[in-house]
């Protein structure tokens, strides 16, 4: 899938949760959202992107994706 599209989606999610002043809560919000609503191949690809440096990802998005469990 177009990784730039996935990056943009992850950043949009992070922009919502970044309203939280507690960054742990914000990061967990992004992690939970992606794990509940993103299909496995999307999660696999965004995790791989983070592992490759995560270019373009907002900090909260990148942090949340690092906490994601890789789909089996």
């Amino acid at each position: 899938m177009d990784i730039q599209r996935l990056v943009a989606m992850a950043n949009d999610i992070a922009a919502f949760f970044d309203a939280e002043t507690d960054k742990v809560v914000a990061t967990e919000g992004v992690r939970l959202h992606i794990s509940r609503y993103w299909e496995a191949r999307m999660r696999r690809e965004i995790i791989a992107h983070v592992n490759a440096g995560g270019a373009g990802l907002a900090p909260t998005a990148a942090n949340a994706i690092r906490l994601l469990k890789a789909p089996t």
């Binding site: 919502f16 959202h33 609503y37 299909e39």
Partner: protein, 939 residues
């Protein structure tokens, strides 16, 4: 004329304490405030009437309903005289009958016997005949009446005609236009014998302000206003109650059938959602169901460049199933998916998602609600605990303040708009939040107290500013919040919105809304005391659609405006069964009843019933499917009743994805834009051809009943079941009621729903279960469904779609009254008489700066693409904003919309696209290609 077999009680229902009286010796008990006429009808003693009908307040003009009341002098009109305890009424006597004959003879001079197109249902002729009147001395040869020149019949409206010579000037039509519809298009002009009904300034109906709702036609006691279809088809032989298949109001209708075809559609006066009213679409625009364009034979082709080949149903199912299995074997189980339709029934959407989950073995199922109200589901579920509106429509009659955000009810939900206008005429206040001056801002006897004319894309800034005023001016309902909401989330939210950065003054330069107006609106809403929010796609179809829904819920909770009549948060759903398709588990992450696929207990319940292993991982959403199709990991789709190629944003991207599929199976009633990319075409069935249920915007489950046989031989639910059987996963239902039984067994909010109960109660609002056996009109009454209401922080995040020197205008989109969505249905009806093309609304200042004049063709270019539309210059839009509808495929409106989408749900941002508009001389290249294609034979 009202529906066949309808018993009109003369005056509306009253709601006082019980009163007992006698009518012609029979005892009857009715609510105080009831008219003698209604009480008599209920007692089985119908009183003659001409100016009365039970949808309108009594008028007391025709003088044929006179009665005698023991102990009272004279002959009071039974329609305007209220009952009293112990009253003894006589509806017939020699004196009464003599007076009635005299009055009726006068009416017959205006409406001679035998002149009505349908004398048997003409109330004047029926009454006169019953009183032995065959003619009138007042119209005898030589009288002025007899020598009057016949007036021309107005046949301008495509659906009904007006024959002034059959009119008795009873004013029922005028009152229906005012009281029921709220348009005030009709009047009585002239005096005495010259008085006559006129539309607007004596204009033909089609050219007048008439919105063709048909309320006048139904109210007419003669054949003066009559449907043309009745004139051609003749008297109905059958009347079948069903539910409209247009917008989310879900009007209850009665389909009258003559010789196996629908001859007339009238609103069901007992319909709880529509209260006996309908609109130009539901009442008249049903002809598409039998249009010559209907596809009635299954077709297949190997490549999308091949000609279609008509085949048997069996061959079509076998081919589709073999292709899906071939693709899965080659590319993996997750390489296919399906789309359910908000136009189809609950039972049909339930079956499609079941087929995807159980027969395909994936969760790659989504629905067209993805592109309209998916943020509603997410936002309301997270804040309040349930993915649905909180009220029933009649609740609006208890509202003191209405806030309408991003919706144009008079265009998109006209029957509910009439209910709103009735309440507004009675004194309720109105706040409109919309970039456009929608009709409710100012129309006859309705004027918004505030019109917050915000720039497209700034909804969240406005809702935060409204909340800022409420919080900083001490207008919150602290006890309500303490009792019903999460304390921590409230405190956090309160501090967030109180930040000066969210003040109306700070937001004014972003939103364009003057701070003083916004403050006034916030105070009005907060102080209601009953304030209700109604919103539409102008809220959801944004990159912050979900944030805005949450912001609305926050505001309603903070002001205590949830959990009783007259308040609430009500999404106005676009299509007839958006609510239902979402309820039925059409989203890739959840089963019916909004339960996540990762929930082990829920999954176990479905696995036990469906006897199959189910995945605990969310599947692909529609836009994700497109992305996966383009990268080659998604190769097959089954689409029931949705035209992705026309309705989804960034058409070029969508069609590239569809072209990449190896097997696209389309199930539709017409050969739509998406079918150009299909390999299998399965003919669909219209709402007239099947049984089932729709769930409207109030969570009201209503029956859809088969009126005619399916044109292609199978109802949509049968098609899905047979496709599933071909895939090797058996579905052996023999009637949709069995599917509803399965839904009820698997869905906690539907536990008590059966066809028998819906038939008995008329309709049911879910939740319907042991706790609420008759359903739930108002949600969150004692507490929120999620337990404590949760406030979410809703920071305003500007959309990426911004104006620039290259794209200096903001395009937003919407609908018109007479067309519906992508127009597949209404474009195939006479509704084209009102709206035959999409136009671009442009402010006079922007037009002048570009040298554009009214009616010019203009090119509209965005970052995504370009198209050409004819321009309409109007100040309905603000400078810097342009607007169009999307009802005609040739307009290519979605060529210019972008892939920006809501952060939570990927609902497209249809409402904000930066564009440039220039005068042009010819259609766009895409439009020219499309024209050439349309002129070529299908294939």
């Amino acid at each position: 004329m009202y529906a066949k077999d309808y018993h009109d009680l003369g005056t509306p229902l009253a709601n006082g304490d019980a009163v007992t009286l006698e009518v012609d010796g029979a005892t009857v008990t009715v609510p105080a405030g009831t008219s003698i006429m209604r009480a008599a009808a209920l007692a089985g003693a119908d009183i003659p009437k001409l100016c009365a009908t039970d949808t309108l307040k009594a008028f007391g003009s025709c003088r044929v309903c006179l009665v005698e009341v023991a102990g009272r002098k004279g002959f009071p009109a039974s329609c305007t005289t209220e009952v009293a305890a112990g009253m003894k009424v006589s509806t017939h006597s020699e004196a009464i009958d003599k007076m009635r004959r005299g009055v009726l003879e006068l009416y017959v001079s205006e409406h001679p016997m035998g002149t009505c197109a349908d004398s048997s249902r003409c109330e004047v002729e029926s009454l006169a005949a019953a009183h032995g009147i065959r003619g009138s001395r007042y119209a005898a040869p030589g009288t002025a009446r007899a020598q009057a020149t016949p007036k021309p019949i107005d046949v301008s409206n495509p659906y009904f005609r007006f024959d002034n010579d059959s009119c008795i000037v009873c004013s029922r039509c005028v009152r229906a236009c005012e009281d029921t519809q709220g348009t005030f298009a009709l009047t009585i002009e002239g005096r005495g014998l010259e008085s006559r009904v006129a539309a607007s300034q004596q204009e033909p109906f089609l050219e007048s302000e008439c919105v063709s709702c048909g309320a006048c036609v139904e109210a007419c006691p003669t054949g003066a206003l009559m449907e043309k279809s009745v004139l051609t088809a003749g008297l109905p032989q059958q009347a079948i109650e069903t539910t409209c298949a247009y917008c989310g109001v879900g009007c209850s209708l009665v389909a009258e059938v003559t010789d196996g075809a629908v001859s007339r559609m009238v609103p069901n006066r007992d319909g709880r959602a529509n209260q006996g009213h309908a609109c130009v679409k539901g009442r008249f625009a049903y002809g598409y169901a039998t249009h010559a364009d209907r596809v009635t034979k299954p077709m297949i082709r190997k490549r999308i460049t091949d000609e279609w080949r008509e085949v048997s149903w069996d061959e079509a199912f076998t081919y589709a199933a073999s292709e899906f299995r071939r693709i899965q074997a080659k590319y993996g189980k997750d390489s296919i998916g399906g789309i359910t339709s908000s136009r189809c029934t609950n039972e049909e959407t339930f079956l499609v998602q079941k087929l995807v989950r159980a027969a395909f073995g994936t969760n790659n199922v989504d629905t067209c609600a993805r592109v309209c109200h998916s943020p509603t589901g997410y936002g309301l579920k997270h804040t309040l605990g349930e993915s649905a509106g909180t009220q029933e429509f009649v609740s609006v009659q208890h509202a003191d303040v209405m806030m309408v955000i991003g919706a144009s009810p008079t265009e998109a939900h006209p029957v509910f708009a009439s209910q709103m206008k009735k309440r507004l005429r009675a004194g309720a206040k109105l706040i409109v939040v919309d970039p456009r001056a929608i009709a409710l801002v100012k129309s006859p006897h309705v004027e918004a107290d505030y019109h917050l004319r915000l720039m497209p894309g700034t909804n969240v800034a406005v809702i935060n500013a409204l909340a800022h005023v409420v919080v900083t001016e001490g207008l919150t309902k602290e006890q309500y919040i303490a009792d019903r909401c999460e304390r921590d989330s409230y405190q956090k939210w309160k501090a967030f919105v109180a930040d000066p950065g969210n003040s109306p003054e700070a937001m004014e330069k972003i939103t364009g809304v003057p701070a003083a107006e916004l403050r006034g609106a916030a105070r009005l809403y907060a102080q209601g005391p009953n304030s209700a929010i109604y919103y539409g796609l102008g809220v959801t179809e944004h990159s912050q659609g979900t944030t805005m829904v949450m912001g609305i819920a926050n505001l309603a909770m903070a002001t205590g405006n949830l959990g009783r009549e007259g308040v609430g948060v009500s999404p106005l759903r676009g299509q007839n069964n958006v609510q239902g398709s979402c309820d039925m588990g059409s989203f890739p992450h959840e089963f019916p009843g909004y339960r996540h696929v990762s929930d082990d207990a829920t999954r176990a319940q479905f696995e036990a019933m469906w006897k199959v292993h189910l995945l605990n991982e969310p599947g692909l959403r529609i836009p994700n499917m497109f992305e996966a199709a383009l990268d080659g990991s998604f190769r097959g789709m089954y689409i029931q009743g949705e035209d992705l190629a026309q309705s989804d944003p960034n058409t070029s991207h969508v069609t590239a994805a569809l072209s990449a599929l190896e097997c696209l199976v389309i199930q539709d009633i017409f050969h739509n834009e998406t079918a150009r990319f299909a390999h299998v075409f399965l003919p669909g069935s219209s709402f007239l051809e099947k049984d089932g249920t729709f769930t409207n915007a109030e969570r009201r489950i209503s029956r859809v009943r088969k009126v005619i046989e399916p044109l292609a031989g199978l109802a949509d639910w049968e098609v899905t079941a047979r496709l599933s059987n071909a895939l090797g996963y058996p579905m052996n239902y023999t009637h949709p009621s069995q599917i509803m039984d399965e839904i009820a067994a698997l869905t906690p909010t539907f536990t008590g729903v059966t066809y028998e109960k819906i038939d008995r109660l008329g309709s049911i609002q879910w939740p319907c279960n042991d706790s609420a056996p008759s359903g739930t009109p108002t949600m969150h009454v004692d507490k929120f469904v999620r337990g404590k209401g949760k406030f979410y922080l809703t920071a305003y995040v500007p959309t990426n779609e911004r104006t620039s020197s290259r794209y200096p205008l903001l395009l937003t989109t919407g609908r018109v009254l007479t067309q519906y969505n992508v127009g597949a249905q209404t474009r195939r009806t006479a509704n084209l008489a009102w709206h035959s093309e999409d136009r671009l609304e442009l402010h006079p200042h922007d037009a002048e700066a570009r040298g554009i004049e009214h009616g010019d063709w203009v090119g509209v270019t965005s970052r995504a693409g370009d198209t050409v539309l004819r321009v309409e210059i109007t100040d309905k839009v603000a400078p810097g904003v342009v607007y169009t509808t999307f009802h005609f495929p040739e307009s290519g409106a979605n060529l210019i919309t972008t892939e920006n989408s809501d952060w939570a749900t990927n609902c497209p941002e249809y409402k904000v696209t930066a564009v440039q508009v220039v005068k042009v001389a010819q259609p766009s290249a895409w439009q020219r290609r499309r024209q050439q294609r349309e002129q070529a034979p299908v294939g």
